[in-house]
């Protein structure tokens, strides 16, 4: 990763910490990414990472005593997960930094696997997994990946399934914690208005956080895993949710940013091809978007919209048609320039948030080759050409390599 302006330090425990000072800001964001996700879980551990994401913060017996918790410092705690990692992060006023940093890292890496709160956490995460199945726009993307993965680990849901969760017990989840939440399988990033000297002084004190053990848990490579197919999940409702995906570059691949520009040009909002044809000119959908699902060794370029059943075949043809056009004719330079500019715009505007910059740093730490700073990203996007975009599509034949899933009042027979 590009390291300009970034200070890096590895503690004796193996925990890597990077820091980007932004003088003048009143807040600081602290994040920890653990290589814990369904893709690196054993078959009898599926869902453990998702339970841990929540369970780690359940310390009820301790809240009654005098020991301070993050909330006492006003810390704003967030978590997120995908199939390859779990992130925990907090943003806090700079004057609370030292106390919060120490608590935050120790709470995660020295979790005592609290017996009293395990069942409630498991129930909660299981119910969220059920709830996710009722949120069509997220559920359909899980379904698309699962169908296209054809039973391989990369198709597992990041949220876990209720069926798998029920089989889990405390010893199993504890085993997953002890394997995945070791310092060498985690990275920490700090971005905000504190000086490097302040952080260094603190790290000197905390140099022994955790114990040096294990190594990074990288998922086994599953190149060319994606399978094409058309699937219809029927359910009642007015709208049919449509998700489609084609194979694309991994996070660290040299074509990653060409895929990102392509995704922007296809369905990145105002002025993009699908937004223009499906929403603006036809009025057939409220939301139309494309996005990248990128992992360590592979990825998917996905498309999503929600419309009425009668528009589904037409909208599918529009997606295929636009891919074919770009594949054959390339994207005009002007369109490439616009898409690149829009991507840069999002990055520049997003950089106002310390949490967003901290999360970019975590991604760069976890996926070698991914640019970690704004300048490095600008450079990577700036290098993308129309030829690069065309070449990312050259091996894809949408009609045979695309996965399509519908969710809603659209019977499977209508695909024929």
């Amino acid at each position: 990763m590009d390291r300009s302006g970034i200070i890096s330090r590895r503690l004796s425990s193996g925990l890597e910490i990077v820091y980007l000072p932004l003088p003048g800001l009143s807040t600081v964001s602290i994040g920890l990414l653990a290589g814990a996700g369904t893709r690196v879980e054993e078959d009898d551990e599926i869902g453990s990472s998702r339970i841990l994401e929540h369970w780690i913060w359940q310390r009820e017996p301790k809240q009654k005593d005098d020991r301070k918790i993050l909330a006492d410092f006003g810390a704003n705690l967030k978590t997120a997960s995908n199939i390859e990692w779990t992130r925990h992060w907090t943003t806090v006023l700079c004057n609370q930094f030292e106390s919060v940093f120490e608590l935050f890292v120790q709470d995660i890496l020295k979790f005592d696997c609290c017996f009293e709160t395990f069942s409630a956490s498991k129930d909660y995460i299981t119910s969220l997994s059920n709830k996710r199945q009722r949120e069509p726009n997220t559920y359909i993307m899980d379904a698309l990946r699962e169908k296209m993965a054809g039973g391989q680990k990369i198709g597992r849901s990041a949220a876990g399934s209720a069926e798998d969760m029920i089989k889990l017990n405390l010893p199993k989840v504890k085993t997953a914690y002890e394997r995945l939440y070791v310092p060498s399988n985690c990275v920490v990033a700090v971005v905000g208005g504190i000086s490097a000297k302040r952080l260094d002084k603190l790290l000197d004190k905390l140099n022994q956080i955790g114990t040096a053990q294990g190594s990074r848990k990288v998922p086994a490579e599953e190149f060319s895993v994606w399978r094409s197919g058309v699937y219809a999940i029927e359910q009642e409702g007015k709208l049919v949710h449509l998700a489609a995906g084609v194979p694309c570059a991994s996070c660290a691949h040299h074509d990653f940013f060409a895929s990102a520009v392509l995704s922007q040009a296809m369905g990145g909002g105002d002025g993009s091809k699908l937004f223009d044809r499906i929403r603006q000119k036809k009025g057939a959908a409220y939301q139309v978007r494309s996005s990248l699902m990128s992992f360590r060794d592979t990825g998917l370029l996905t498309f999503y919209l929600a419309t009425e059943a009668d528009f589904v075949p037409w909208a599918t043809c529009v997606i295929i048609d636009e891919i074919e056009k770009i594949k054959k004719e390339g994207l005009p330079e002007e369109k490439v320039k616009i898409a690149k500019n829009q991507l840069l715009k999002h990055m520049v505007l997003r950089s106002e948030s310390t949490a967003s910059r901290m999360n970019t740093l975590l991604t760069a730490l976890w996926y070698p080759g991914y640019p970690g700073t704004l300048a490095a990203m600008k450079e990577a996007i700036g290098r993308v050409t129309s030829e690069d975009i065309q070449s990312t599509l050259q091996n894809i034949v949408p009609a045979t390599e695309m996965g399509i899933v519908t969710l809603g009042p659209f019977p499977p027979r209508r695909w024929h």
Partner: protein, 406 residues
């Protein structure tokens, strides 16, 4: 940070906050004609107009979503609330004037063409279908239906039938009445000192004259609390909302209710009263408090997510905690924790030019003047534990509440 506020000759309130550490500048026009300004025959029009304004204006006939704007670093967006409709741009400071001129043109000279309206009508219908798939959105609407017998009790974007009944003439009328300088609040925030042409932006609004006088909106009607079990859906887990009508509050108590909201159940992961007493034990999966104010009248809402057969126990637990709070049982630790959380949240709101603009406008709605971040922080700082106990005793020492379940 430096602040400026003034009123244009035509009556537009203008507030500016320079935030030198920001990379962006935001210009936000808050048209004080939200969904609550609509008559019975205009339901959904404020939101439809917001959509249609993006389709084209006199000097930008292709609209703000056209390819001409794709090359700028900024973007223009909008959202409609009950109290106002906000149109804003966010860009690097150098592009502020060009974004500003598009915004002004959209607001002053929209083309409001029938063919665009027909397309947007179809899009809004699909937006409505999406909303009706979201449990929390359905629950809030059902609560409003029962709390507010007037406009607030109907859907903000209108029902399918109401959307179908809209027409261009109705939109034109609403535009003429509401999109006038004296009914608009302009907030410019972010790194604006470096924008040398900020004067040219302000020049654009000086020539904008009022065509009609702004309208006054009646305070919302409210009804007596009741319990409504809508439990038709057999979904697990189930949602419920419990709500208390609050009497109009002076500033100190208004901010005390905000603090109480955080103390009881903010959306942070950890540390609130309901989280410790109800969520950690596994009785409910989520409990979140929301305090909203319409026309000076407050509504305190508690959203819960739990297994259907545990909802009664959750309600009893919530009511017990509300009684405890009303009896003054609030600890120093909870009080200090809530204060720290609110201060952190305010700092987070001030860490983006757009979120700061929304905070400035919301404070203006209450105080009718610019309220600085330091002033907001001091409002919170001045609230004592006694104030918190006082407002809790006054507002929650009774059993009258709404309950809606799904």
């Amino acid at each position: 940070m430096t602040y400026t506020q003034w009123k244009s000759p035509s009556g537009m309130h203008v507030m500016m906050e320079d935030m030198p550490s920001m990379v962006s500048a935001t210009a936000s026009f808050f048209v004080l004609g939200g969904a609550r300004s609509e008559s019975d025959k205009q339901i959904g029009i404020a939101h439809a107009l917001e959509h249609l304004l993006f389709r084209g204006s006199l000097h930008y006939p292709d609209g703000a979503m056209g390819s001409a704007f794709a090359q700028t670093t900024g973007h223009i967006n909008a959202f409609t609330t009950w109290e106002y409709t906000c149109f804003y741009s966010r860009s690097i400071p150098e592009e502020l004037p060009s974004m500003f001129s598009v915004l002004i043109d959209m607001l002053r000279y929209p083309l409001l063409r029938t063919k665009d309206f027909n397309l947007e009508q179809a899009i809004i219908r699909r937006e409505l279908s999406r909303q009706s798939e979201e449990a929390r959105s359905r629950l809030t609407h059902r609560l409003h239906q029962h709390v507010y017998p007037g406009r607030l009790g109907k859907l903000l974007i209108g029902s399918d039938e109401e959307i179908s009944k809209m027409n261009i003439a109705g939109l034109e009328d609403f535009h003429k009445l509401n999109y006038i300088p004296s009914n608009i609040l302009l907030v410019i925030s972010g790194n604006i000192k470096s924008s040398k042409t900020i004067d040219s932006c302000l020049q654009m609004i000086r020539s904008w004259e009022n065509t009609r006088l702004p309208i006054e909106i009646e305070p919302p009607l409210t009804v007596k609390p009741q319990l409504i079990d809508l439990a038709q859906a057999q979904t697990e887990p189930s949602y419920a909302v419990w709500a208390w009508n609050l009497s109009p509050l002076e500033d100190k108590h208004h901010y005390a209710v905000h603090l109480l909201c955080t103390l009881l159940g903010d959306d942070n992961y950890i540390g609130s009263r309901f989280y410790n007493e109800i969520v950690v034990s596994g009785l409910a999966q989520q409990i979140t408090c929301v305090y909203s104010v319409f026309g000076g009248k407050g509504l305190f809402k508690i959203y819960g997510l739990a297994k259907k057969d545990q909802l009664n126990a959750v309600r009893e637990k919530i009511l017990n905690e509300m009684r405890q709070i009303a009896a003054g049982n609030i600890t120093w630790r909870e009080y200090n924790r809530a204060k720290q959380k609110v201060k952190t949240q305010m700092a987070l709101d001030a860490s983006s030019s757009h979120s700061r603009a929304v905070s400035i406008a919301q404070a203006w709605m209450r105080h009718r003047r610019m309220v600085t971040l330091d002033e907001l922080l001091s409002f919170i700082d001045q609230i004592t534990l006694g104030d918190l106990r006082d407002v809790a005793a006054r507002q929650f020492d009774h059993q009258e509440y709404f309950e809606i379940r799904e």
